[in-house]
Symmetry: C2
Subunit: 395 residues, 2 copies
């Protein structure tokens, strides 16, 4: 193993910690840009509680609401402009992954003269990795992306229908204020997509990381087993606060780097999914659910032993003399059945995505993510033909 | 779960990363206090490589060598005095847990007018939790304590034969420069003690933490399983770099907070062991090995289900209709046998400690660590009589 890791984000976890928002923000500055989504935080009461805490601490507030489920660069531009115009010194993200991702890039864009789409690598002026951002506080209302405690963000461009990733140390939130009660109003389908999203974060590094990372393997398995134990409870009863807590903590541990440190893993399934949800406004977790099992069957061909390990450690599937591939495939079938059991789509059709644009998704994926060899990094690296094959078998 | 967590340390992990020491220190200041132990780093060549890298980067060096295996407050005073006198701006710890712990407290003591023993809670002037320290860079030469990436330190006082703990955010190293090659010269016995130490870090939180932490449970099990898989290989062949890597990464993940976050766990076995190694210069890991199985048998009486889970998940021991306690005890027996198999002492006698001072160890433990109720915190909390009983059965 050769790697470097640092995650400076402070996490404050627990029910009713939202009441500490004002105190947390006051350490950072007197005026906040409050970033929210489509209105669910207003219906749930989270917005009122956040504003009350900020006001009680004497924090002035400017707002950027209406961030889309797949957040658009146009919203980032709007939020950054508001932050600059209003003289905000802090950015507070109150919402799901899309709100947190957009808020992070707004915070960097507020400190950058150029077009923020440059930060995603597809602007007119070449790639600009941000080095400076307003301090960020995340208050997640959905357990899924882990964005509250990492340095990444995914943003879409409506015009080019491209969806791209930015990651930079300045995007680590100063504080993640994680109150699992805020997720109790999330409906069952979105809860399930979040469970799939968090599991996929660790399957990516489990199956695509370097060899020789046994601690990270065990950590990944721990996240998956916990999500499979508690996820169905959160889906079945959204008021089950213990289930909400465990799923949320699993979602954070899944992508704050603790599982991935040292694995140097690309995220091919995510890259393919981004190209789909750039065209269709489907939940990212639903898109992942539709394609991950198909990708697994594809990847198992070149590395059946890894998928047999997954089958054994996650589902207790024995190899039993029938060969690694048979055990591998049984593990993937069981994983797919689990996704279906909590209401996740396990095909593109079930996710509401037709097959007409499959070639285009593959092209977009490579346009955004191709490595120096023109391939999508992963184990194995994928050609356009490979991506098309995986998507066809996911129909 | 209710908790707060932040670990800002950057880790740079990999063989030959020691060559980056100068570059890393240069970011922090022009003159370093280089803290070392009894000479093994000079014999192994690590010292020469560190000095070469520092000199090549133009870093001036002042030295504090001779830090004891159970580091003494007198050494901390000496190092802090050198740092102040020489105008050091950075503290570099090159050694095992004792060197790193001493260096951390030196870094804080260099910024503090009072006696550093106050920071350990037992000075004349009442407890002083440090709030400021020179920046610290750790370069571990032993895989054991995890001190390279956490904010804790354990220091002994020869006069009072007390050993105490300090933990404060300012003690987080800026960078942990972890080069597993540096551990290849560690002899088999010390390697085994390190394996026991790292495993005990996670058994403490596994058995003494709050209920309802399934992710943390799985992470703890992952560290134990990895240490049990790779530890014996590192003991058997010190030149096995892969084994050295895996054991070292496990030792860091065992105590950088990733396993413990949210468990709010006291460390009773550590507190008892500290009282023993304050009187006898035995390796901390050896002391832990001598008493942990006895403590487990004691604690299993009040919580057999937890120890049965350990037996099942670590050793695949089925409950099999004979009751939780039988399975629990089989798991503990197997754990004890594992420790013995790698050459760790599983009794005080084997660790070279007689039974004469057992009452005193128990008294010292409570003197240092008693909670408001006069008990040693843990599950269950322990009276002096309980501690004596555990130590008697560990003879």
């Amino acid at each position: 193993m050769h790697f470097q890791y640092q995650n400076p984000t402070r996490i404050i976890f627990g029910t009713r910690t939202i009441e500490r928002l004002g105190e947390v923000v006051r350490e950072l500055g007197p005026k906040a840009l409050l970033v929210t989504g489509g209105g669910s935080v207003k219906r749930s009461g989270a917005y009122d509680r956040a504003v009350e805490s900020l006001r009680a601490a004497g924090i002035a507030i400017a707002e950027c609401d209406g961030v889309e489920p797949n957040p658009r660069i146009s919203s980032v531009r709007r939020g950054a402009e508001t932050a600059r115009r209003e003289g905000c010194r802090v950015v507070v993200a109150l919402g799901g992954g899309s709100v947190m991702d957009a808020a992070k890039v707004m915070a960097a864009a507020a400190c950058y003269e150029g077009d923020p789409w440059n930060m995603l690598g597809h602007g007119q002026e070449g790639r600009h990795i941000p080095t400076e951002a307003l301090p960020i506080v995340t208050v997640p209302t959905l357990a899924a992306t882990g964005s509250e405690m990492n340095a990444g963000a995914v943003i879409s461009d409506q015009e080019s229908t491209l969806k791209a990733v930015v990651s930079a140390p300045c995007l680590y939130p100063k504080t993640a204020l994680v109150d699992p009660e805020l997720t109790m109003s999330v409906p069952p389908d979105q809860t399930a997509y979040g469970v799939c999203d968090l599991i996929t974060h660790v399957t990516e590094s489990y199956f695509n990381g370097v060899d020789g990372t046994p601690v990270q393997d065990r950590f990944a398995e721990g996240v998956i087993l916990t999500a499979m134990e508690w996820g169905p409870r959160a889906v079945a009863d959204g008021r089950d606060i213990e289930a909400r807590e465990q799923v949320q903590w699993a979602s954070i541990a899944a992508l704050n780097g603790w599982v991935q440190a040292g694995t140097l893993s690309p995220f091919p399934v995510h890259m393919i999914e981004h190209s789909i949800s750039a065209h269709h406004d489907i939940a990212h977790g639903a898109g992942l659910s539709a394609i991950n099992p198909s990708w697994m069957r594809f990847a198992a061909r070149t590395r059946p032993e890894r998928f047999a390990l997954f089958a054994s450690r996650i589902f207790g599937v024995p190899e039993g003399g029938r060969g690694e591939m048979a055990a591998a495939l049984e593990g993937i079938d069981r994983f797919e059945a689990f996704l279906g059991s909590i209401g996740c789509p396990t095909s593109l059709t079930a996710a509401g995505v037709g097959g007409e644009l499959i070639e285009r998704y593959a092209e977009d994926t490579l346009l955004i993510s191709a490595n120096a060899q023109g391939l999508l990094a992963g184990r194995p690296a994928m050609t356009k033909k490979d991506i098309v094959e995986v998507l066809r078998s996911a129909r």
